[in-house]
Symmetry: C2
Subunit: 132 residues, 2 copies
DNA sequence: CTACGACTTCGAGCGCGCTCTAAGTCAACG
DNA sequence: CGTTGACTTAGAGCGCGCTCGAAGTCGTAG
């Protein structure tokens, strides 16, 4: 029943960010001040880790820190912030879908270009191939 | 048969970047020095526009400018740079696929969270909902 | 008791990709 | 001929998201 807690180094390894970044997130208010050992050292539990991982997901999919911050503030308000959180998530869902489309269409463009390298005797010309 | 050329402003509108950015791309070597009117003003033709659009696609899908620069240099070498260009494109294809996976899995996470807002009487708790 | 190493805070610094400013030139209009 | 306005260059500045350095504290090993 002992709760497993991690040092900042371990938490960093677990979440895939650096210890510097964990402290940074805390000081800008993206994460709450975490529990401390009596030495003053941070101790991370499961909920903190899950929160960081979720933030990184949002960030990796293009959400800027300012928006994550807004979401974090709403989360701290509990039920009162539910509508706002939902709106932010819906907005981000839209943006993810947009990015998916962008990636997919560029993937196609690249596949086409690559196909040229396979099929042509001479490599495809690119804009202004001369070099002086 | 007259070639249609655009001013920097028009080219910017056409490609979706600012005139500032067009000049910036030229000075860092991402785009070749473009033709000039006798006034000294830049004149953009079709190939230049297509090149810029392609660069923006690469960039929008996560390619850093340094890599685009490497690609541009290879393109200027013509056939001699074909292998290198191909390798860069293949690498970027891999990264795009990775990003697609990341976006897709995060999209699922968000869909799940959103589903909670629809089904629960109380909104879902988030890490450390208290606000002092 | 001492030395070590992992932690702490605070603040400065950095790489990226623009973005903007200042000062000047040129062409066309009235 | 004078004004307007779109362009030119070179270089400084900026927002983002970390990243690092300095200086100090704590707790365990030898």
């Amino acid at each position: 029943m002992t709760e497993r807690t991690l040092s900042i180094r371990e938490a960093a390894a677990e979440t895939g960010v650096t210890a510097h970044t964990l402290r940074y997130y805390e000081r800008i208010g993206l994460a709450l001040p975490v529990a401390r050992a009596k030495s003053g050292h941070r101790r991370y539990g499961e909920p903190e880790l899950r929160w960081i991982v979720f933030l990184r997901r949002l960030h990796a999919t293009g959400m800027p820190i300012r928006k994550m911050l807004a979401y974090a503030r709403l989360a701290r308000k509990g039920p009162a912030g539910a509508d706002g959180r939902r709106a932010l998530l819906e907005e981000h869902r839209r943006e993810i879908k947009e990015r998916l489309g962008q990636l997919t269409s560029t993937l196609e463009v690249i596949e086409q270009k690559l196909a040229l390298y396979d099929q042509l005797p001479a490599p495809p010309a690119e804009h202004a191939p001369r070099e002086r």
